[in-house]
């Protein structure tokens, strides 16, 4: 997935964060220059993650980090399931039925057959692609799950479904503020 926003540059942010922050980012990036950060999410447009990656990927590339962005494929049924899962993780009472779980697994398997996992670090965003961790045992690499939603009070059933996937990751990142 190539970013359509070719016009975003680090210097555009100087007036907002200060030149010292941009300079420090270059210092930090130097330590990971040439490393491949592979981002995976569920949609190229719409939603906060797509908004983040649209900007983050070209900025990382400008810093010398090989950043790529892959979008998993899924049908309407899959996204209905993940929407329910999303709401349940936020604490809404939702039942993730066995049929819904099977839909999640089938979509995950279809993507596992098609996707390449080549990043030094594979950063999987939110619950929709979390099941892709199944490939870790074959390709190795460092897998990180980035959770952008509030899972502080999840529906127990929803977390019970998702946790076995999350627990396989090398690390998980949550927002706590």
């Amino acid at each position: 997935m190539e970013s359509a926003r070719a016009g975003i540059h680090l210097d555009d942010y100087e007036g907002i964060v200060g030149v010292e922050v941009i300079d420090e980012l270059r210092v930090l990036a130097d330590r990971v220059r040439g490393r491949h950060l592979q981002n995976i999410n569920s949609t190229a447009v719409g939603g906060g993650v797509a908004e983040i990656l649209t900007r983050m990927v070209p900025l990382l590339r400008e810093l010398g980090v090989t950043a790529t962005w892959d979008v998993m494929k899924g049908g309407e049924a899959f996204f209905d399931v993940t929407k329910a899962l999303h709401n349940a993780l936020h604490g809404k009472a939702e039942t993730i039925t066995e049929r819904m779980q099977e839909c999640y697994r089938e979509t995950t398997d279809a993507n596992l057959r098609q996707m390449d996992f080549t990043g030094d670090v594979i950063l999987v965003h939110d619950p929709q692609p979390a099941g892709l961790i199944a490939r870790k045992k074959d390709v190795g690499r460092a897998w990180v799950w980035r959770c952008h939603i509030d899972v502080s009070t999840p529906d127990a059933g929803a977390w019970k479904f998702l946790a076995p996937y999350v627990e396989q990751y090398d690390a998980s990142i949550f927002c706590n503020e």
């Binding site: 010292e20 300079d23 210092v27």
Partner: protein, 217 residues
């Protein structure tokens, strides 16, 4: 830091991790506080200085906030709020001071049976710092005051707040280096700045102003 050497500005990035330890009561908080790593104590008493450097939160201390909001122990919260972070030269001393305040309070009120509401438990975190050079180097005192204007708030936080407690040195990195350069008066002036009552931007301006007043930088 060899006093003949230039000042090398460093920066850091922190990895915040959940420890898995939680507390629901004051007694529970004490049990964990006595044993938890120093990096956890430091994180919960200092992270907001870096997180909210554009504004000054009313209370920076996570323990104070939790005691007040989750346990409704407002008297204890005031006592914890009064703990002067500048008075300690080590995380160990800071930990002992917080523990002492809570223990004394519990003795005075005959213990506390209050339990926080479900979901409001105190989750102990810790932070692991990755320190690295910024490439900004000050060759002399004048150069220092020029260069300090251009460092990030993270670098300022590291040299002024974090290094002091982590290295158990009763002064900040800037003052330590300036004293080595024979600038004891400037070093003392910077040492007397209180980083806990201003934002990091304001702290930087205060440091620059001290140099400016001496005609330096």
């Amino acid at each position: 830091m060899n006093h003949g050497e230039p000042f090398r500005f460093c920066t850091e990035r922190r990895l915040v991790q959940l420890t898995g330890q939680t507390a629901r009561t004051l007694s529970g908080l004490l049990v964990v506080l006595r044993e938890i790593s120093g990096s956890s104590v430091f994180y919960h008493t200092h992270h907001q200085f870096l997180s909210h450097h554009f504004e000054k939160p009313v209370v920076y201390n996570d323990f104070t906030n939790w005691v007040s909001e989750a346990l409704q122990e407002n008297l204890l919260a005031e006592k914890l709020y009064a703990v002067d972070l500048l008075a300690f030269a080590s995380i160990r001393q800071l930990r002992n001071a917080i523990i002492s305040v809570i223990e004394v309070h519990l003795e005075q009120v005959g213990g506390s049976l209050r339990e926080c509401p479900p979901g409001d438990e105190f989750h102990f975190c810790k932070s692991k710092s990755f320190v690295m050079p910024t490439g900004i180097v000050a060759g002399d005192v004048s150069d220092f005051f020029k260069k300090v204007r251009g460092i990030t708030n993270v670098s300022l936080y590291f040299h002024f707040l974090e290094a002091r407690l982590r290295l158990e040195r009763p002064t900040n990195d800037f003052s330590h280096w300036l004293r080595g350069r024979g600038e004891s008066e400037l070093a003392d002036s910077i040492d007397h700045l209180d980083p806990y009552v201003v934002t990091l931007d304001e702290l930087r301006e205060q440091i620059v102003e001290l140099g400016r007043n001496r005609g330096i930088g």
